[in-house]
Symmetry: C2
Subunit: 284 residues, 2 copies
């Protein structure tokens, strides 16, 4: 993955991360490679790669380690999207046709598998002392997120506590992983559990907020949605969801801002998105 033309003193850019991901997925012009290019080419916020770039910069990690962590986390996230779309029957992803819809279910299964494998090849390119620990932690968070996706698909949550568990497991692991891997690479293992707690809280804030727009559809389909678990008119349920999200977001901010050397500032910014809505609403 390391090109000799790269100046290792310049910061890693998102273009470096994209190149690293594509290099690990496309060795030819096969249908698999086309599917990989279609999926990654459809955009996406690359929130996890950005979190890794921010934390790695704060912790002064090397070019190769920064790129390795960013690429690995984004590959895992995109693997989960390719397989989740197939599992959920979602036909559109980021405005483009979902991989399974465009290339078939078999290609979607194969591409997701390849992306999981590529994530580990990416992380293995990090020239660090703690590689084994990073990989073991990565598998732990992958297990969490797969458990969350499975629980979401099979779920019959009836309490907010159960809902929080599924939301936390479904989105928390891959939001926290970029920061957690940077902390391990920087030999700050003692701070990993705080990053996990913060990202789990952001996941709940994110999922609860996301549920507001999907409420009518989810409730009609009997799917998991925060608004299905609270009483009242839809407007007051949406208000409760925003309040729930803001509570967890504030808790995430309180934890993430204490991560070493500002390495949680990306998480703080992410959590901040779920606070102002309520502050504005309460001020009105």
């Amino acid at each position: 993955m390391v090109s000799s033309s790269i100046d290792p003193t310049r910061p890693v850019t998102m273009a470096d991360v994209e190149t690293a991901m594509i290099d690990l997925l496309t060795r030819d012009d096969s249908v698999m490679a086309q599917a990989a290019r279609h999926h990654l080419g459809s955009g996406g916020g690359r929130a996890r790669a950005k979190l890794a770039l921010q934390s790695a910069h704060a912790l002064n990690l090397s070019f190769a380690t920064t790129r390795a962590i960013s690429g690995a986390c984004e590959l895992l996230h995109n693997a989960s999207l390719v397989h989740d779309d197939l599992q959920d029957g979602d036909t559109v992803r980021r405005g483009a046709t979902a991989v399974w819809k465009k290339f078939g279910s078999n290609t979607a299964i194969c591409l997701g598998d390849l992306m999981v494998s590529a994530a580990y090849a990416a992380i293995a390119s990090a020239p660090v002392d703690h590689l084994t620990e990073m990989i073991v932690h990565m598998h732990q968070r992958v297990s969490d997120v797969i458990g969350g996706q499975h629980a979401d698909l099979e779920s019959d949550c009836t309490t907010i506590a159960d809902y929080n568990d599924v939301a936390r497991m479904k989105s928390g692991p891959l939001l926290g992983l970029p920061v957690e891997l940077c902390l391990i690479a920087a030999n700050r293992q003692a701070d990993v559990s705080a990053a996990m707690t913060a990202s789990d809280a952001i996941a709940i804030a994110y999922q609860t907020t996301d549920d507001i727009s999907d409420a009518e559809r989810d409730i009609a389909a009997g799917g998991l949605n925060f608004l299905a678990l609270v009483p009242g008119e839809m407007a007051s349920r949406a208000h409760a969801a925003r309040q729930h999200a803001a509570d967890f977001a504030r808790s995430a901010i309180a934890i993430a801002k204490n991560l070493p050397d500002g390495s949680g500032n990306g998480l703080v910014a992410l959590a901040g998105k779920f606070v102002p809505v309520l502050e504005i609403e309460e001020a009105a």
Copy 2:
């Protein structure tokens, strides 16, 4: 993965490998854990773990490294079985109900993903100098096998050369990987390509032989089968398949027996299974 009660001077047993795999897949009594136990509990020859144990012993690798390589290769193989059964619609595996049929497609997708991830956590537990190289090689072989599975599903091979390519890619990578990882761990990188060539040849011998029993069904369904590519009566096509298999098996034996310190003896024994059939036939 390392238990303090293990005597690291005794040889790794298959029970050690089973425990390592289960530990990486089951953290609770969830449906996912049940599915993992169901699949691994249904048996299987564990041919790849056995190849790793043989090569690792020949190359004098440590207990932890031997267990890591055996577990990683067997996890990748079982991931491929769980996803292949879903893709091919096969309802029975080793006499038991296939995971997707018993637990649903969503669970099968999630379990296969978890097994790929667990394979990398397993290999990361190898206390060796060449871990990055081993992981990068593992991803290369996983890419090969996913490409092979995809080509098999989408295939319209019309020549024996194309057939050989698909057969080689579909089964060769995970047959060779146990030996190849042992060679890298033992700092015998120069011998890896010979192990790859030998395992690719065994894969062709295996697939061609396997095609004989599936010929009627595959040909009726328009599926990929060696016997569909040769002319004549079914009996003479089967003879041609046995000859094709034996040619590749002999070539595999010639290469594998020259691997260092007898590290290819497991491959030699495996290839040997595809030779006697023809020798007996010719002697008759």
